[in-house]
Symmetry: C5
Subunit: 69 residues, 5 copies
Amino acid sequence: MIVARLNERLEVEGKTDIAVDTVGAGKGEIVIVTTGSAGRRAGTLQNSVVDASIVGIVDTVETDGQVEV
Amino acid sequence: MIVARLNERLEVEGKTDIAVDTVGAGKGEIVIVTTGSAGRRAGTLQNSVVDASIVGIVDTVETDGQVEV
Amino acid sequence: MIVARLNERLEVEGKTDIAVDTVGAGKGEIVIVTTGSAGRRAGTLQNSVVDASIVGIVDTVETDGQVEV
Amino acid sequence: MIVARLNERLEVEGKTDIAVDTVGAGKGEIVIVTTGSAGRRAGTLQNSVVDASIVGIVDTVETDGQVEV
Amino acid sequence: MIVARLNERLEVEGKTDIAVDTVGAGKGEIVIVTTGSAGRRAGTLQNSVVDASIVGIVDTVETDGQVEV
């Protein structure tokens, strides 16, 4: 799945990456991506070649007391 | 918890990230974030999918003999 | 093999890298590259000094419902 | 300890970081910093949450046959 | 040894780094550098604090069928 990095205002920054979806995220959802060796600790990826996994779906982001999602 | 990278003058640089708080940091505090496999060595995160943890709260920063915080 | 990073519109971004090809990718094909310790989990590279491997060839990329390749 | 990245002409580049000093480096000295899991191989940091350590102090830098320090 | 990152046209990009030479590379040679935990798999570096090693010397680079070195 293609993921794009967001900044703290939830705007898309330039960089995109490929991550394995372990939680069933839909298109356009805000997700948490874990990288490096941690990416293989999600689900059943222990011995895979994965270096990035989607491990959570974000419901709400609060910045300076203001809920943005 | 959303963390922003600071430079040596404690100004916010562009990049923000998500880190697990293992020390009970408050909003707006300056913290030390450890990344990669080290992020799973904090607290009880050993087998988690975490790739970044807040492991300390900064009391004082001294640059060129000048205390900034 | 020299690989170049693509963005979500499949345009070449600036950075190139060297990766071991474990799947027999041809010149000009779009591939998936895994980095870090995951790079050594591909094929027979377990004890090698590899830090990046080509682990897949991309057939189709779909962005916002639009097939690009 | 706060460390700043230098380029090959020993000029400070933008990025600064925090590293554990394992060799007793003084303020203003040029040091070698190791990052990632290697940072925990210095001194007694094996089970710590450290992701960057100062592991050496640089005496001399020679670029194109010219000694700069 | 100080190494500089090259792009696909073998031009020097901005970033330089320090790497342990395990193959006896000479000054000005084009080398392959492996980083992260892979850097400790070269030669006898297994338990060292190394995070980047020179693991090969490049004889020929071919881009789009054109030999550049």
